[in-house]
Homo-oligomer: 120 residues x 2
Amino acid sequence: MRIGELARRAGVSERSLRYYEQQGLLLSERTPGGHRSYGEWAVDRVIRIQALYAAGLGSKKIALLLPCMRDADGGPTERTTGELVEELTAERDRIDRMILDLVRSRDVLDEVIDAATAKA
Amino acid sequence: MRIGELARRAGVSERSLRYYEQQGLLLSERTPGGHRSYGEWAVDRVIRIQALYAAGLGSKKIALLLPCMRDADGGPTERTTGELVEELTAERDRIDRMILDLVRSRDVLDEVIDAATAKA
DNA sequence: GTAGAACTTGACACCGGTGTCAGATTCAAG
DNA sequence: CTTGAATCTGACACCGGTGTCAAGTTCTAC
């Protein structure tokens, strides 16, 4: 499939897909004319990339992490090095804290919403 | 207390505190010489502001939301308008989705970490 | 009074993923 | 062919909370 379809199916812009490729997160075959061409595996990968971005990871960390993930994209599943494990653990802990903060903020919002809704 | 102590106790920079004030999120008394002075309530408020920022809300939304929160700061707890409730509900749903994404990303990280750790 | 820490305002820069525009090229269908 | 849609590369801008520096003022303790 080509970039337009991938963008639509993965729910991101074409701009972002080209950016991901530039960051080394997403490979593409090329047609003789230079247009990008993707296999089915690309959809899942892009969605995963999005999730990691949303989790606050930067391109570099994601680039290190992706090859270590056993996936449907048949990647080589590289050996995770000790140093990387440390970084990933730090990221996981950061995400855990972020989740706690978010839950609290959501509860605060719920409280306000409930108070306003049940003001009957 | 003054800005330095507040910054230390709330875990943010003085820069941020001045910015919050500029955005109308944090009031301060002033000494005759113009230095900011805060009561104890400020610590909780700043922490709450931080949590909302971390949840992806912008200054304007937070400014609308803060007066509606019943708190230890003795704020007037303004009436939440219908329009605001809609916005807040949208924010809450967005945060919910964000939490789900984060949990999934964290689980992915855990998987990679476990795989690398238990490779014995 | 006086020294040094703390505070003031104002300005400039950054980050990094994304939007968007321009101009050129390619693809697919008639 | 030809034509219109799709894609290509490259560049510029944005956002918005925060870091940081500069020059000046205030506070506090001796």
